[in-house]
């Protein structure tokens, strides 16, 4: 039976349901299920376009390989991406110590098409491990609202649905 997660933006009160792509990204899906619930402060991308994400310290003993890799994310896709220690310590000062110690896992959803996960280091393929199956319109509208009215104070949460 397929596994599902709930993706919520707590401040905006938006909830959506996503299916995990266990056949295409088995290691990542197993790790995500084991790691849930996961949550963190929301950021909007400044390179990759229509990406809403939070950062969390890696919770697996070793970095996961990239599975079901893509650089052409579509509306409703869920992304897992590991970044090594120090990679983006220049970002939010609030999470800098964590960046230095452990690196970070970036857990994201994409709220519109035509994305380009591309920065000065080149393309960064990552793991597409899930897909929103319910509540996508509301979640997409909330993503656009984060862009216009700001990510500040928003929290994204992933929980398991049994």
């Amino acid at each position: 039976m397929a596994a599902y997660v709930e993706l919520a933006l707590l401040k905006r009160g938006v909830r959506a349901r996503a299916v995990l792509l266990e056949d295409r990204a088995p290691l990542t899906c197993a790790a995500v299920l084991e790691g849930l619930p996961l949550q963190g402060g929301v950021y909007h991308a400044r390179f990759a376009s229509n990406e809403i994400y939070f950062l969390t310290p890696p919770w697996t003993p070793a970095p996961l390989p990239v599975e079901n890799p893509t650089v052409s994310y579509d509306r409703g896709d869920l992304m897992y991406k590991y970044f090594p220690p120090y990679y983006w310590a220049a970002g939010d000062p609030a999470v800098r110590p964590q960046w230095r110690r452990t690196g970070m896992v970036d857990l994201a959803y994409w709220y519109a098409p035509h994305n380009m996960p591309f920065n000065p280091t080149g393309m960064w393929p990552s793991t597409n491990y899930g897909r929103v199956v319910e509540g996508l319109d509301e979640l997409a509208a909330a993503g656009d609202d984060v862009f216009r009215r700001g990510a500040s104070g928003e929290v994204m949460r992933l929980t398991r649905i049994d």
Partner: protein
């Protein structure tokens, strides 16, 4: 002495002063100087990293040449872009009609480093027509605040310093 212009985030009441790069971008500088003041809704980039810009109707009768070009703007650079009417896929209702009729100019500033102007169409250079001399730190703080707490309703204004 170089001509000076003021860059202001109107809602936040924060300004910086920039010097025109007339020796490097003469024709573009003259067209922009004639067109000042230029003001419109402020927009934060989703792909170029630390860019705030405004989209306005063309400031010259025909497209200006691409001079003093870059795809790697540094903190404090002011860039001019022009897009033909066929360029746009989606815009707010209020801008759409104008854009389809005349194309649009875009005037941007960069408040931090690691900017990278590459889109789905490839390298997308703009003309560096001025560089900020004073107030970059304050403008950078206000720009990041606009991004984090919501840029909707914010306006960007460029005007002559007399």
């Amino acid at each position: 002495m170089a001509k000076l212009l003021r860059v202001t985030l109107v809602g936040r009441g924060v300004s910086a002063v920039a010097a025109m790069e007339e020796e490097l971008a003469g024709e573009v500088c003259r067209a922009i100087w004639r067109a000042l003041p230029i003001e419109g809704p402020a927009f934060h980039t989703k792909s170029a990293m630390t860019e705030v810009s405004t989209l306005v109707p063309p400031i010259a009768r025909r497209p200006l040449p691409l001079v003093n070009p870059t795809i790697f703007p540094i903190p404090g650079d002011l860039l001019y872009f022009w897009y033909p009417s066929s360029y746009f896929a989606a815009l707010p209702e209020s801008t759409w009609e104008q854009a389809r009729r005349t194309g649009m100019a875009r005037v941007a500033y960069y408040y931090g480093r690691n900017n990278y102007l590459v889109s789905q169409l490839g390298p997308s250079p703009g003309t560096i027509f001025a560089t900020i001399q004073e107030g970059l730190k304050e403008l950078a703080r206000a720009s990041l605040d606009a991004f984090r707490s919501g840029i909707e309703g914010e306006r960007l204004r460029y005007e002559r310093v007399t």
